[in-house]
């Protein structure tokens, strides 16, 4: 008998995502995007990586609808976004939260009012409910005491945090970040990256981050799309990126001396791994010998030297 068991996880995987297909865009005859396709899955931090001027931000603008692609389609959860009716576009846009490169906070509003703005405009929440949600979002980004400040009174990192709070306030299911750590010190950059990563995992949202920062790549890159001169050259995760053979990507990754040094250490760690496995064998042999001399009842079982004193393998 045929038995159908709905697989909700598969259903979620299939439909809570953004799909871009064959995106082309030119400005005044200059080709900026050349047939970019890809899938951004929910619960993952998807990175658009590439050097400046490779079309990452234009692609992001196409995805959120700020720029209309010449050719190609963009689909949100199976609903076509490009060339669709304005109402449907509006409906999708109201599920989008975006962190802009310069934060794009409204100058005339306080931090609290900035976070409250999308709630006021897009939801039918009461004033008290909005206040609770604003407090929650500000607390989530660690700015519970900065609500009354104006954007001009807070630092760049705090502005980014407010931008994230504003983006997630209306329970957005898509989060877009355009160079979230540009202009920030390395420590604040990592904190912002971690915040984006945590929020993505916590709310299972689809996050797309435009970046050219290799620290971000190594910290949060679940799915990385590398772009070069308007083309997608590589796609993979942060675990694979260091082993790439693509010349442009290698040049990009190892442009800084820090990354070159990291690679060198990584290579050395690779040879150290071999040494470690040899040491491990020697330790096991030594453990066997000690067991035999002491008349251990567990003789014959070896002790894992890296798994604690009582662990037998």
């Amino acid at each position: 008998m045929f038995y159908f068991k709905p697989n909700f996880k598969l259903f979620q995987l299939l439909f809570t995502m953004i799909e871009i297909h064959n995106i082309h865009k030119s400005f005044n005859g200059t080709k900026v995007l050349n047939g970019i396709s890809g899938i951004f899955e929910s619960g993952k931090t998807n990175l658009l990586l590439g050097a400046s001027g490779t079309g990452k931000s234009v692609l992001l603008q196409c995805i959120v609808g700020l720029v209309k692609p010449d050719i190609g389609s963009i689909t949100y959860d199976g609903k076509v976004f490009t060339n669709n009716k304005l109402d449907l576009k509006q409906e999708i846009r109201r599920k989008i939260g975006m962190l802009f490169q310069g934060s794009a906070l409204f100058d005339s509003m306080s931090v609290e009012e900035n976070v409250d703005f999308p709630l006021k405009m897009l939801t039918k929440m009461s004033k008290a409910e909005r206040k609770d949600r604003v407090d929650f979002c500000l607390k989530r980004v660690g700015l519970e005491n900065a609500g009354k400040k104006m954007p001009s009174e807070i630092s760049g990192g705090m502005k980014k945090r407010v931008g994230i709070a504003r983006a997630i306030a209306p329970n957005s299911i898509y989060l877009f970040c355009d160079e979230p750590n540009s202009g920030l010190d390395p420590l604040t950059s990592i904190k912002i990256d971690e915040l984006i990563y945590e929020i993505t995992q916590e709310y299972n949202i689809t996050t797309v981050v435009v970046t050219h920062d290799m620290n971000s790549v190594m910290e949060i890159g679940d799915n990385i799309m590398f772009m070069h001169k308007g083309n997608k050259l590589w796609e993979g995760s942060r675990h694979d990126i260091m082993d790439t053979n693509i010349k442009e990507l290698k040049e990009f990754i190892f442009a800084s001396s820090l990354m070159r040094a990291a690679k060198k250490v990584d290579d050395e760690m690779g040879s150290l791994d071999e040494l470690t496995s040899l040491d491990e064998e020697q330790n096991r042999e030594q453990a066997k010998l000690i067991d035999h001399q002491e008349g251990n009842p567990n003789e014959g079982k070896t002790r894992d030297p890296y798994a604690g004193p009582d662990t037998l393998v």
Binding site: G65, R93, M98, G102, A104, F106, D107, K120, L122
Partner: protein
């Protein structure tokens, strides 16, 4: 011919821009609240400059008319009459609007231009809000409400300025001035001035907003947009002044 084409293109873009103000707008409560805020910025915050300009224009008009009116055959009350006519028909609506084109026009263009280059307009669009309607429609509506009120204030103060200047300088007596400003009064002239004020308000606010909204680049371009907003608004006001005079008088 090369100049003609881009100008028509810009005009077409301006018409589409005006259309975009009226489609997929936000709720009435949000727009009305924004309109009140804008009315304060555009109207209330402009009262001082309008009052100063109007008072002195009335005073100067009175003094200059009395200087030129040398014939003994013309009664001195004519000075009051001329101050009133000039003020109501031309000076109050037009000069006030030109002053406001400088103050309000540059403010609108600069504000929107800055919002555009700092991606605040994009932030609104990404949220699914019609940025043109949300940001600009309240400014245009507020200007169209507040300009006539400012023109009424300007008319009153200008005639008052003429009175003070005329009597203090000894050009005419108080009773002569009052007699002059009451002579053959046509109420329609007030309506004409107010219609002009509404037309000028629409032109100044929409042209300035258009210049600001399409700003691209950086701080330099914001400055250029403000300058263009003021220049284009003043030209549009003067052309509209002529057209209104032709059509309505």
């Amino acid at each position: 011919m090369r100049l003609y084409k881009p100008n028509m293109k810009t005009f077409g873009k301006f018409i589409l821009f005006l259309k975009s103000l009226l489609v997929r707008g936000e709720s009435f409560s949000i727009l009305s609240s924004r309109t009140i805020d804008e009315a304060i910025i555009i109207g209330v915050n402009s009262i001082f400059i309008v009052a100063v300009v109007a008072t002195f224009i009335g005073a100067v008009t009175c003094v200059q008319i009395s200087y030129n009116l040398t014939s003994a055959l013309i009664p001195r009350s004519t000075i009051g009459f001329m101050v009133r006519e000039m003020t109501i028909l031309e000076l109050a609506p037009t000069i006030t609007s030109i002053v406001l084109a400088g103050k309000v026009g540059s403010n609108i263009a600069g504000g929107l231009g800055t919002m555009q280059i700092t991606e605040q307009v994009d932030a609104l669009e990404v949220m699914g809000i019609n940025s043109a309607s949300y940001l600009i429609l309240p400014k245009v509506v507020a200007a169209m409400f507040m300009f006539p009120l400012l023109v009424i204030i300007a008319m009153t103060l200008s005639i008052g300025g003429g009175y003070v200047a005329g009597t203090l300088s000894g050009a005419l007596t108080a009773s002569e001035y009052v007699e002059g400003i009451r002579d053959t009064f046509i109420p329609y002239n007030i309506l004409f001035a107010l219609i002009k004020a509404v037309v000028f308000a629409f032109l100044i606010s929409s042209i300035s907003a258009f210049q600001g909204y399409y700003t691209k680049g950086g701080a330099l371009e914001v400055g250029t947009a403000s300058t263009n907003a003021v220049t284009n608004s003043i030209i549009a006001v003067l052309i509209a002044d002529f057209v209104c005079a032709q059509l309505l008088l």
